[in-house]
């Protein structure tokens, strides 16, 4: 069959996007409400006591981090839980028996989750910049970075969705790794405000680079080189995407 069955690929992608859009109360609204609450609490209530960080009002400074937090959580959760449910309820078999390659199937799952991450992150960033009248440094760079990070964490979600034997295992990474790393990744502060040793530790946090990169794209300011951040985002995407496609192809935990 010379036909690569792109219809099959787009059907899986459409199914993935259709699933989270039909569940928008669980998949889109919560992160927007959370970001709004953070902006209100930290930005207005507490932020009024902080004058500026690197010359930007605190509210402006935390916006890119909140957007990136939504990107990471949503991209990961979508693919991890969707794949896990399909595996547990066995309707993943519908895709495994279809003439769709492992690369196509995993790519469709990843892009589906990445779309959710992108929508969430973009809405928060664009609404925030509009509401607070922020002149975006580079909208193209910001949205590109959101897209790349969405793909990276959606791929990581695929790996953990494949690996998980129960729903706790799907969420354990979010609770114990992603959320803490995002919080200490400079969402609410500049690492320049930290003691030297802690600052050094932050450099080992990959999520710090994502936040730093988006802050550069949005405000034009940065703690460390934006080029390094973009490189880190691309490297994380390449590695996680490669691993997830390989696992799908091997059929680890999804085939007999």
């Amino acid at each position: 069959m010379a036909n690569r069955n792109w219809v099959g690929f787009f059907t899986v992608l459409k199914r993935e996007i259709g699933r989270f859009l039909s569940l928008y109360k669980q998949t889109i609204l919560p992160s927007i409400i959370t970001a709004a609450l953070f902006l209100f609490i930290f930005g207005y209530a507490l932020g009024s006591r902080i004058e500026t960080i690197k010359g930007f009002p605190y509210l402006h400074y935390i916006l890119p981090g909140l957007s990136m937090m939504a990107v990471i959580n949503n991209a990961y959760s979508n693919t991890a839980s969707s794949l896990f449910q399909a595996k547990q309820l066995k309707f993943l078999e519908d895709i495994l028996i279809a003439p769709i390659s492992a690369t196509q199937a995993s790519l469709a799952y990843i892009l589906g989750g990445a779309t959710r991450g992108f929508i969430n992150g973009s809405i928060i960033l664009l609404m925030g910049t509009w509401l607070f009248d922020i002149q975006m440094h580079s909208i193209l760079l910001s949205l590109s970075l959101i897209a790349v990070v969405s793909i990276a964490f959606s791929s990581i979600g695929l790996i953990f969705g494949i690996r998980a034997d129960n729903f706790d295992q799907v969420m354990v990474l979010v609770t114990f790794l992603i959320t803490p790393l995002v919080y200490v990744g400079g969402v609410f502060y500049s690492i320049d405000m930290l003691p030297k040793m802690v600052r050094g530790l932050s450099m080992f946090n990959p999520l710090y680079y994502m936040v730093n990169g988006l802050r550069y794209g949005t405000l034009g300011t940065f703690d460390t080189s934006p080029v390094g951040s973009i490189f880190m985002a691309l490297a994380l995407t390449a590695i996680s995407f490669g691993i997830s496609v390989y696992l799908f192809w091997k059929g680890w935990k999804i085939k007999d």
Binding site: G8, T11, G18, L23, F91, E93, D94, I95, P99, D256
Partner: protein, 319 residues
């Protein structure tokens, strides 16, 4: 390669599969001609599902050659998978969508453009009496409706080979007969069918050829008639006037079993053996209240080969 009459629909040679130390398939050979109605029987854990999973891409395998219409299921998976429809025993419906939508998606996975998939979904939902339920989620369907949906799902892309794993498990007699008629009709239209079943009547009624698989090996292969002639052996069942404690010595030459006042004797040709059995009981002074003769059946072949009855398998096999 093209789908010619000479090329079998399914050809499996020397198929081996290990799960760690455990060898699930020990060199399975199966050849199913195009248009054949073929049954795969065997105890639970014998390798039926693993074989089906290898054919459909749900399982990797360690050794052997597996082809569908002459195309390798690994190197040419797009070709082979597009020609197979699988109705798994366990219901596996995408519960985020209505049953019409999930059939349309299923068509899409197999490369049908949206309009064609929508038409096929409508045809199948009407054909299987599910059209009224099209906007419902699969969880709201009854067991019989789910079974019909499971088969409809396998047929969306009109595959020339249909694989059914226990297609009538848990359905009532009326639906079972309706499904049999439908499967016969599909087979008459040229669809090659491979089914696994625990219902002996199903295999006898539908299959032109059956194989018995046990411990990962095919141990018998032929038409139901051939197998029963070669290996079946019938049975004489006797209900005695009075219960007895042990079998009389006069029946020592027979393969007989006793339960209260009920004796079951397995024989090659029941009608020829009746007189001899009656004489033996007379010699032992035992009166017979009722006698039944059961001709050889596929059930006997199964019991003889695997040491288990199909009914035991059906009970054990419930998910």
């Amino acid at each position: 390669m093209t789908d010619t009459n000479e090329t079998p629909a399914i050809q499996i040679r020397g198929l081996k599969k290990w799960y760690g130390e455990f060898q699930a398939l020990r060199g399975v050979d199966i050849r199913i001609e195009e248009g054949e109605f073929y049954g795969l029987l065997g105890p639970n854990g014998a390798g039926k599902s693993t074989t089906i999973h290898v054919l459909t891409g749900l399982a990797n395998f360690s050794e052997g050659q597996v082809e569908v219409f002459g195309h390798n299921v690994v190197s040419d998976f797009r070709y082979t998978r597009s020609r197979i429809g699988l109705a798994a025993q366990e219901f596996n419906f995408d519960r985020f969508f209505t049953i019409e939508r999930l059939l349309i998606f299923q068509g899409g996975y197999f490369g049908l453009p949206k309009q064609r998939a929508t038409e096929r979904a409508e045809e199948l939902l009407k054909q299987f009496g599910l059209w009224e339920k099209r906007n419902q989620d699969s969880r709201k369907l009854s067991g019989g409706q789910k079974r019909r949906l499971q088969i409809a799902k396998a047929l969306v892309h009109q595959p020339p080979v249909l694989i059914l794993d226990e297609p009538t498990a848990g359905v009532d007699v009326e639906l079972r007969h309706m499904l049999w008629d439908y499967l016969r009709e599909l087979n008459d239209r040229g669809v090659t069918i491979l089914l696994t079943t625990h219902y002996i009547e199903e295999a006898e009624q539908l299959c032109e050829r059956v194989s018995v698989i046990n411990r990962g090996e095919i141990i018998a292969d032929g038409s139901p008639e051939e197998l029963t002639d070669q290996m079946g052996g019938g049975c004489i069942e006797l209900q005695l006037d009075e219960p007895i404690e042990t079998l009389p010595e006069t029946l020592n030459g027979f393969d007989a079993s006793l339960e209260d006042n009920f004796i079951r004797i397995r024989v090659e040709q029941p009608n020829k053996a009746v007189q001899e059995v009656m004489n033996s009981l007379n010699d032992a002074d035992l009166g017979v209240y009722e006698m039944r003769i059961r001709e050889s059946s596929l059930e006997d072949v199964f019991v003889r080969l695997t040491g288990r009855t199909m009914a035991e398998e059906a009970t054990d096999g419930q998910p």
